[in-house]
Subunit: 378 residues, 2 copies
Amino acid sequence: MAVSFPHPRRLSRPVHLGPVVIGGGGPIVVQSMCSTDTRDIAATTAQIAALAEAGCEVVRVAVPDAQAAEALPAIVRASPIPVVADIHFDHRLALASLRAGVHGLRLNPGNIRDPDQVRAVVRAAQERGVPIRIGVNAGSLPPLEGEPGRPPTLKEVQASLPKRMVQAALGHIRILEELDFHDIVVSVKAFDVPTTVAANRLLARQIPYPLHIGITEAGLPWAGTIRSAVGLGILLFEGLGDTIRVSLTGDPVEEVRVAYEILRALNLRRRGPTLVSCPTCGRTEVDLVRLAEEVERRLQGLPASITVAVMGCVVNGPGEARLADYGIAGGRGRGVVFRHGEIVATVPEEKLVETLLAEIRRDFPDLDRPRSAPAGPA
Amino acid sequence: MAVSFPHPRRLSRPVHLGPVVIGGGGPIVVQSMCSTDTRDIAATTAQIAALAEAGCEVVRVAVPDAQAAEALPAIVRASPIPVVADIHFDHRLALASLRAGVHGLRLNPGNIRDPDQVRAVVRAAQERGVPIRIGVNAGSLPPLEGEPGRPPTLKEVQASLPKRMVQAALGHIRILEELDFHDIVVSVKAFDVPTTVAANRLLARQIPYPLHIGITEAGLPWAGTIRSAVGLGILLFEGLGDTIRVSLTGDPVEEVRVAYEILRALNLRRRGPTLVSCPTCGRTEVDLVRLAEEVERRLQGLPASITVAVMGCVVNGPGEARLADYGIAGGRGRGVVFRHGEIVATVPEEKLVETLLAEIRRDFPDLDRPRSAPAGPA
C-alpha cells in the first residue's frame, strides 16, 4: 500500500561501524543501548544477543569507569553486532575502549578539556577506522546566560534550546574537523518533540554527516513509544535521520521493536508481515479482535514483508482486503478471502483464518515452520 | 519544555456539535467510536460513559439498520458527550437519527443516489443545526479504471489514492454546498501513512472546512498506536487536523488515551502530568525503572499539567530535572530533588520519591486525594 515517499532523504556522508554503514542513502540503521552494568559481562552479552535477535544493528554500552572498559574486549568478541562505547569526560576510557576493539565511540570531544588528550583519542580512532558520534542532549547544555542583572526565564531557556544544541554540536564537530577527522555521526536530542525537530532541521543544513535521531528520556514504554513515534515519524518523513534509537525506560529489546514499527509505518523498512485491521464498530458481525489476534499470532516470525488485511464489514473491508497482499472481509457469520486483489473464497467465519493462511502458504510454503523469535531485519 | 509550535495551525471554519466546537482555531477535539452493537443500549451507554471519562469529547455509533436507529434516542439522552450517527447508503436511517437528536451525522451524500433523498436529509440536518462529516477511506473508493485493454497495476492503484480520495471528498462536498449546507467536517483516511498525509495536504488547500484526521484500520493496539502516532504526529505538526480519532482493533478507551498522548507529545493538549524518564544504562546507579513507575503511579489522575523528570545519572539528569517543573536525578544510592529549576534536597534513594512528592504537594495540596480515573481533558 506504499506510495512513493514525498520527501527525498537527506544525503549524508557514509560512516562505517564495522560492517554496518550509517548514512550515504543506505537503510536507516536501528540501534539501542544496553541497560546492564557493563562490568557484568554475562548480563551484557546476553542482552546484546537478545537485541541482535530483535533486529538491533548497532549496540551502545556505557563505559563509566576502568572496570567497565576492562569488560569490553570480552563483550566485543561475543557481540554479533558492532559495539559503541559511550564515554564522558575521561579520555583514558576512550583509549581503553579503542584498544578493546569497539566499532564506535560516543564522545563529545569538547568535554575533554586537554587538547593533547583529545588529539590522542582522535588519532587512535583514526588509526582503527572507528567513527565518533557526537551526542548533544538538551539536558546537558551549559547554562544559558540571562540579561545582565536577572537570570533567564524557563521560557527563554526552552526557546533557546534548538540553537544552543546545534551550537554545542558544531563546537564538538569543529574540534574533530581541525584534527582532520570526518568519520562523524551527530545527534541533537530533547524530550520535547518540537525542540528536537527544530534542532535537527537546523543542524542538517550545516553539516554533511549522518544524523542519529531520537527523542531522549521519552519515558515509560507506553508514553515513550508514542512520543518517539511522533518525533521520529516527523523527522523521518522530512527525510532526516540515518540511524534511530528509541529511548524507553524499560527493556531495550522493546526499543528495537518500536523502532522497526516506526520505520514500517513510513515504508522505510519492514520486518515481516504488516497487519491491516479495522477498529470494529456496531456494523461488525464477526469476532474481529479474535480473528486479528489469531492472524497476527500465526504470522509471527514470518520473514516475508507481506500486508494482510483483517476487516470486519462490507463498507471498507473488501476495498482494504483488495489493496493488501492477502485479506479477509467479514460479513454476517461468514467472510470473503482475497489473494493479490482477487476474491478466492467465501467461507463461514470459523474457516476464515485457515482459508487465509492456506492462501498465504501457497506463496510461502514454510509458513508453519516453528520460529523462536521475529525474523532478522529486512 | 515546550517551544512554540513551528507551524501555524490551518484556520478552518468552526463547526458545532452540540457544545463542542471543531475547527476555528479551537483545541483539537478527541473522538472515538463505539465498538458495541448500537441496538444494545446498556452496553453502548456504558461504553460512552467510559469513553467520556477517559476524555473522549465526541462519540460515534454505527447505525446500520432501523433497530439501531430506534436505540438512538435513549443513547443520546444518556450520553454526556455529543453523539454522531454513522450512516451508509440509507437516507431513512439518517432522518431517524436526526429525529433521535444526534449531534452529528457521518454520511457521504454521494452514496445516497436519489437527489430528493439527499435533499431531505440535508434539510433536516440544517433545521437542527447538525453538521455532516464526510468520510472517505482509501478502501471504499470506486475502482480505478486502467488503460484501455489492461487493468491497472496495484502500484498504479496505490499511487492514485491521494488524488482519488480528495476527488471523492470534493464530490460529496459539492453536493452539500449546492444545497447551501456548509456545516461540514471532512476526513480522508488510509492505512498507509504517506498516502494519508498526501491526501490531507491536497484536501486542506481546497476547502475551508475542518479536518477530521486518522489512520484507518491501523491494526491491533501496539502496532496501531505506533502507526497512528507517526501519521497523526506528522499531520498535526504541519498544522493540519481539527479533530482526531485513533483507530485500534480493541477497546476504544485506549484510542482516547493514545490520542491525548499524541497531542501531548506536540504540546497541543495536555491531560495531567508528563513524565520525563531516561532509558537507564550502565551508568545508572539507582533502580530507575522502579522509581519512574512509582512516580507515575502516584501522580496518576492528578489533573495538573506538570512535567516531572525521573533521571538516573549525573550526565543528563540534573539538566533535565532542572528543565522540568519537578525532578529527581539519581546518583550512587542517593539523588537530588529539583523544584522549579532549583535543587531543594539531596536524599538517599529510598527517600527520593517521597521527597519529590512532598515538593509537588506544596503546589498541589490535594495530590493524594483518591481518584477513580484519569482527570478530564485539559
